[in-house]
């Protein structure tokens, strides 16, 4: 078959012409016109009729009494009495006349403009050539016919096939006068098989063992080992999870987190256990309807709970429930039937035998479930707490380290206590309180002055607010500003903020400007004073002091969970401020987080202290103790001294924050209960299903009952009109689609393109199969084997077709450019998750743990805040980066948030998982290059790989390069490659020799430890080499 061209690209095509022309690249004249090719009804005419005529003259409407969806109807014509077609006489055909008339009232179609001359010419030629209109029932379409058991083709080259399936491929190649490619070398073959089955590269020792195995079954044994690997299920799950639109969040705007990972783990287990595909189907669609379903069978029904849930106020719950039901129908169509059922939501399918009524009959299967549309995670099933011991022990270890470091630091501080006391004593009084004036809240709050000089907010409690307040000072040389936030009984939970639930605030931006008071000085407009840095006595996770002065309104300072207490923030100025003759200072507090996260009571002061260490505030209590002679100090005094000294140390505060977060995380892990979304039937009165007129759920017409489309009723021996009946219909041996669609997807996974390229559409608008008999052969073999997935994959991997080398040759590019004939082995870019997994595996970072709650590997900070999720009470305002071993889990475990897909995955074509996706596009873009070069995870992997090379790679740089290439590509380097890489390495060693600072900066990336003994410059050079290896086309490609 002819390779299908890419979708219409004519416009861009034209653009390139222009560009090439301006480049001076010689353009040849447009190709000589050959005689017009014969018109093909299915390819040329029918789509035109459907697109431009069928809305008014089709199954759903017949304006003027005319139908144009069968030859008989067109010959009969409409009310006018004249036939639309005069066979062989286009000029006399009413159809052509109405398309070309100059009378605007007569001209068809009335909407969307006239047909183009080319389109009209097509119709003319078709009519003149006899208006061939194959009167086939749509059920005669190849994919709707029963799966046949075709004869195994005869081939000339009988020594090539290793499996009967190869004969189908070879017969076609021979027909096209092509020959198969030679067998790939063994190392290549093992890498290909390992990546295809487990998604991970083979280790070099596995390759060596394989190369050394003289047994004729060595390759078969290797494939068997890979099929038995527990990583097989993880790899297989990826594609199925795209179909199942599995994600860890609800979707839509608010997109809260949900617990669905038990379903994901079920999928991995099912593949690992080689669950027969029919059972796999039944448990996911109807596990809850099986007799005495096990928990696993209930978890499997999460498949259809992967629909989105609305968390936004003001939504119509029924509307969102209906959307979920429709999504289930669409997913059923794509995942099992290879049909675009969603076309029939609004009107009968224009190509395939699915009427609008059929659609709502399928809809009825899913219309009586217990889930709702808004805020609804029910029904859910509690699952046992997952094994998080690895994470927990890492956290405990970290906590221990932090405690140890704290103890050490405290000893050190104790030794310096005297000095500190002296400094603190001098620092007392460094801060001069300001008398605050003219507080203005744009949101309408009022302020009351308190006896301590602070202002207390009263009255209106704005959701968002910007507050300005002024003060005058005679000081010059002001070096820093202190903002104290204070508790007050009138504030929610004692404050110091105004959020009702906790008394927190989020200060997004804090700024100060200065203008001279004396009239003589230049009246320059008040400019914001540049702030060098900010520190606070306490910072909430993700809400650091520096966030209040970073000019980014989406990040801010907060103090949870230490509510109801006084805190302070010190902003150090870039330049000393203050005018001679007095200065007016204007302060600005910006609060954008909403829900009244505004500061409730505050005081401001300034200092002229130049030494940053002497700026740490000394409060009255501490000042009293400091003034007291050491001999008179009580135990309480001493405790206050110690704790004040600790808090004044930035290092101690950093450790405290760490300790707090680790404890909180451990507590959360220990406490958290897990309940996953499952499917249940409603127990009360069943819902009535009606056809939605034009898909509008508010406009319902005829009542329908659950049932399968008429055209596929042959497989419907099941009496039950429920989801279980539906699932059993799908896997009935007489069902023409399920087995074909399933084997096609397995084929696609290995060869890059399915036998049917449009693996989501087997209907008449899909692309016909390249090897129809092979598809049927595989489908029938699949069913005969009891829907045995591993057995089929084993045959595919052991076939001669699969084992071919991927080298193209001029002959192959000429006749089989897209490799649809399989004249060579498959070769294509790895999926997003595989690129990550590969780098982790090669670098040695990979944590092979299987299953459990999703994890949060390193991601760019603040991405969630940027898209607008500003409210911490939603709990999803910042990507909570995982710790330790959880950073290095396989991609399949990465937390999948629909509105903000993990960026590097999205760049490499991973879908958002809003809807069912049968195949990912496979693009090749500059943004991918940037991600592969600079994603911090891949850079950390490059550093870890460099450390591994230096530790294990041998004694000389030449040996190490050999080692590195073998680990990364699964083959030794060629001489040319080796020379070029060694040259590059030497250049990098030279580069970094004189740039120790650059080297040190570069190797900082990531938290994987670096041995102290390693020279930073040497490591940096090798890290660059590792980064290059990770970016090679060959690395990124399976082939």
């Amino acid at each position: 078959m002819a390779p299908s061209p890419a979708p219409p690209t004519f416009l861009r095509f034209a653009l390139v012409l222009v560009t090439l022309a301006t480049l001076g690249v010689p353009l040849t004249a447009p190709g000589q016109t050959s005689p017009a090719p014969p018109v093909d009804f299915a390819r040329d005419v029918e789509p035109l009729l459907v697109k431009r005529c069928s809305e008014c003259h089709g199954p759903d409407a017949q304006k003027g009494g005319l139908r144009l969806d069968s030859r008989a109807a067109a010959l009969k014509g409409g009310k006018s009495g004249s036939p639309a077609l005069q066979v062989g006489k286009s000029a006399e055909s009413e159809l052509i006349q109405r398309l070309t008339t100059s009378d605007p009232d007569e001209l068809m179609p009335p909407k969307g403009g006239p047909l183009t001359p080319a389109e009209i010419d097509l119709l003319r030629r078709w009519i003149d050539a006899g208006a061939q209109w194959p009167e086939v029932a749509t059920t005669a379409h190849w994919a709707f016919r029963p799966v046949a058991t075709p004869a195994i083709p005869q081939v000339k080259r009988t020594d090539w096939p290793k499996d009967d399936l190869d004969r189908f491929i070879l017969a076609r190649l021979e027909k096209e006068k092509l020959s198969p490619q030679v067998e790939a070398d063994r190392a290549t073959l093992l890498r290909r098989a390992a990546l295809d089955l487990t998604g991970l590269p083979p280790t070099w020792s596995e390759i060596q063992a394989f190369l050394a195995d003289p047994s004729p079954d060595a390759y078969a044994h290797a494939v068997d080992r890979l099929l038995a690997s527990p990583h097989y299920g993880e790899n297989m799950a990826r594609g199925w999870l795209d179909l199942a639109r599995y994600a860890d969040s609800n979707g839509y705007q608010v997109d809260l987190a949900r617990t669905m990972w038990p379903y994901r783990d079920w999928v991995i287990r099912a593949f690992n256990q080689n669950m027969p595909f029919d059972q796999f189907t039944i448990e996911q669609l109807a596990g809850d309807l099986l007799p005495h379903p096990t928990d696993d069978q209930l978890i499997a029904t999460g498949f259809n709970r992967n629909t989105k849930i609305n968390d936004e106020g003001g939504g119509d719950a029924e509307e969102y429930r209906v959307k979920a039901v429709k999504d289930r129908v669409a997913t059923l169509g794509t995942a099992w039937l290879g049909l675009t059922l969603n076309c029939a939501e609004c009107h009968s399918h224009k190509y395939d035998p699915v009427s609008q009524e059929d659609y709502y009959r399928l809809y009825a299967f899913f219309n009586n479930t217990a889930d709702g549309g808004n805020y609804s995670v029910e029904p859910a099933l509690s699952v046992p707490t997952p094994d998080l011991s690895e994470t927990q022990s890492h956290l405990r270890k970290r906590l221990q380290d932090v405690q140890q470091a704290t103890a050490q630091l405290e000893q050190e501080l104790a030794r310096q206590q005297r000095t500190w006391e002296r400094e603190a004593h001098r620092a007392a009084g460094a801060w001069v309180p300001l008398e605050l004036k003219n507080p203005v809240s744009l949101g309408g709050a009022s302020y009351e002055r308190q006896s301590d000089g602070s202002l207390l907010a009263t009255g209106v409690n704005p959701i968002y607010d910007t507050i300005t307040v002024e003060a005058e000072t005679d000081l010059t040389g002001i070096t820093a500003v202190q903002l104290e936030v204070l508790p007050d009984p009138s504030l929610p939970k004692n404050g110091p903020g105004r959020w009702g639930q906790t008394g927190n605030f989020i200060l997004d931006e804090f700024s100060v400007s200065a203008t001279p008071l004396s009239p003589g000085t230049s009246a320059a407009p008040a400019a914001n004073l540049a702030i060098r840095s900010a520190a606070a006595d306490w910072e909430q996770r993700y809400y650091r002091a520096e966030h209040a002065v970073d000019r980014n309104p989406k990040t801010g300072w907060a103090i949870g969970p230490r509510f109801g207490q006084a805190h302070f923030l010190i902003a150090d100025l870039q330049q000393p401020a203050g005018f001679k003759g007095g200065t007016k200072l204007s302060f600005r507090f910006e609060h954008y987080h909403g829900n009244s996260h505004c500061v409730g009571r505050f005081r401001l002061s300034v200092t002229t202290e130049r030494h940053p260490d002497r700026r740490w505030p000394v409060d009255d209590a501490l000042r009293t103790v400091l003034a007291r002679p050491p001999a008179e100090r009580t135990a309480e005094d001493l405790a206050l001294l110690t704790s004040s000294q600790h808090r004044a140390s930035a290092a101690w505060r950093a450790l405290e924050l760490d300790r707090h977060q680790l404890e909180a995380r451990l507590e959360e892990l220990g406490r958290k209960k897990h309940a996953t979304l499952i499917m249940r039937e409603r127990t009360d009165t069943p819902r009535v299903t009606r056809v939605h007129v034009r898909g509008n759920f508010l406009d319902q017409s005829k009542e329908v009952s659950a049932g399968v489309p008429e055209a596929f009723a042959a497989a419907a021996t099941e009496a039950r009109a429920d989801r279980l009946g539906l699932a059993r219909w799908l896997v009935h041996p007489a069902h023409p689609l399920t087995s074909r669609v399933a084997v096609n997807r397995l084929w696609e996974g290995l060869f890059g393109t399915g036998i049917v390229k449009t693996s989501e559409d087997f209907g008449r608008q899909g692309e016909p199969p390249s090897h129809p008999e092979l598809l049927d052969y595989l489908a029938s073999e699949f069913m005969r084997s009891g829907w045995n997935v591993k057995a089929l994959q084993r045959r595919l991997l052991l076939s001669a077709t699969y084992r071919q080398a991927a080298f193209a040759t001029p002959d192959r590019l000429e006749h089989d450019f897209y490799n649809r004939l399989l004249s060579r082995g498959p070769r294509f870019r790895m999926d997003a998750e595989m690129i990550r997994d590969h780098a982790l595996a090669v670098s040695g970072l990979l944590n092979p743990k299987i299953g459990g709650p999703s994890v949060h590997p390193v991601q760019i900070a603040n991405l969630w805040k940027e898209i607008g999720f500003l409210r911490p009470e939603i709990g999803m305002d910042e990507w909570p980066v995982s710790e330790g071993p959880d950073l290095y889990r396989r991609g399949v475990y990465t937390f999948w948030r629909r509105v903000c897909t993990y960026p590097t995955f999205a760049t490499f074509d991973a879908p958002s998982r809003d809807i069912c996706v049968a195949r990912r596009p496979r693009t090749n873009t500059p943004l991918q290059a940037l991600a592969a070069l600079n994603d911090p995870m891949l850079l950390e992997a490059a550093r870890a790989f460099a450390q591994r090379i230096l530790a294990e790679g041998g004694r000389s740089d030449a040996d190490r390069i050999d080692f590195a290439v073998r680990q990364c590509l699964g083959r030794p380097p060629t001489d040319a490659e080796h020379t070029r890489l060694l040259q590059y390495l030497k250049l990098q060693l030279k580069e970094f020799r004189s740039d120790a600072a650059g080297a040190t900066a570069l190797i900082q990336i990531g938290s994987f430890p670096t041995p102290d003994s390693l020279d930073a410059r040497r490591l940096a050079a090798w890290m660059m080499l590792a980064n290059v290896l990770f970016n090679l086309d060959e690395t990124l490609t399976k082939g």
Partner: protein, 481 residues
Amino acid sequence: MKPVLTPPALDALRNSTRRRFLKDCAAGVGSLALASLLDQRVLAAAAPAASPQPHFAPKAKNIIYLFQSGGPSHLDLFDPKPELNRRHGQQVPEELVKNIRLAQIGKQASLLGSPYKFAQHGKSGAWISELMPHLAGIVDEVCFLRGFYSEAFNHDPATIFMNTGAQLAGRPAMGSWFSYGLGSENKDLPAFVVLMTGVGQPLTNAAWGSGFLPTVHQGVPLRSQGDPVLYVSDPAGLGRQRRRQSLDVLRDLNQARHEALQDPEIQTRIAAYEMAYRMQTSVPEVMDLSKESAATHAAYGTSPGRASYANNCLLARRLVERGTRFVQLYHRGWDHHGGPDGNLVYDLKQRCAETDQATVALIRDLKERGLLDETLILWGGEFGRTPMMQGNPKPDQIGRDHHPHGYTVWMAGGGIKPGIVHGSTDEFGFYATDGRVHVHDLHATILHLFGIDHLRLTYRFQGRDFRLTDVHGELVKPILA
């Protein structure tokens, strides 16, 4: 160089290369990039076998879509209603609301006149409220669509509808269609860029995603903080020179691999990496506003380094100057239901103050630079607001609910007839009555301005030829220049 490929294989290769090139590298890769890299024997033969043409001559080359997220009130900005003011406080007439769904308010709500003064401006006499004094000064450049209407009344579906022509996530955004249909004119920058400011409703990638089109066509958000494009900065300590060295060795090794395997995909990858390298310079360059003149900063109200709508307006000009096809600004915070959370007194004034000057400065700047004729400006939200008041707030905290049935968006430049007001709403500003323009009509018209017949720009997915305009859309001829 001795040809190693036979002519038919060459054809296939050059076709594929061209196609891959167009398909994957359009976001920032022009053909020049590849031209310099591809084996000459391929390029020399890269003549087209046929030369399809654009549908017709385009009027516009670039578009800047100033999306005001949240739903600005047409009744307080562009569409004065004396009758509404006269009947202020009365219950909304039942016939207006009997057949519709409302987002939050009930059907007994009372009518709310606009507290703002309107005046006619320019030769066209367009009405503008006192909140947009700058816009009032350039109404003769602008075409107001006062009979505009949509269908969705919640933010998320309405925003996605305005951007993709469908209410559910998953269809390509308008900018993606442009990238797909027309490619980029700059080899170093993406064709479709998204810029965001303000606080309010979350904006999700569904509004600038490429849907079923290849991801290369998705909108690239340029971030105002951190890396403008993810990973465009090399890590600390790496350095440009060492990056160049690593790309050199990558190219050499990939080239050698190509010699062995003859897989054209390898050539595309080499081109993509070179393009990435150039983006590392071109993106920070375009983001750097510090070189703009003081006069420009004064006109826009910009200040380098700050995240602001004004900065994004200036950035938009810099992007279209460099050939970025589709620049979309989102400014959040136009959702004024009333109460302290967001109202027509404080918040609406604030939004106008944040945007009016810069929007107008952008149009003037484009005009002075001779770019307005080829740059289409589109200003609007996902819906307008109800003529009825929401709730019973204090007088200085009044607000209105979501309203898709009739509101105003406006356009300027890029082949649009300047200085006209097209269409109108009824006496309450409730339903679009005359000159009704639906979301799909707007899309069809915009595509037309770029030389594209909306019926013919299609993409085959799941057995259907999808269009931006779904199965609808009529060209709005009266507003074409």
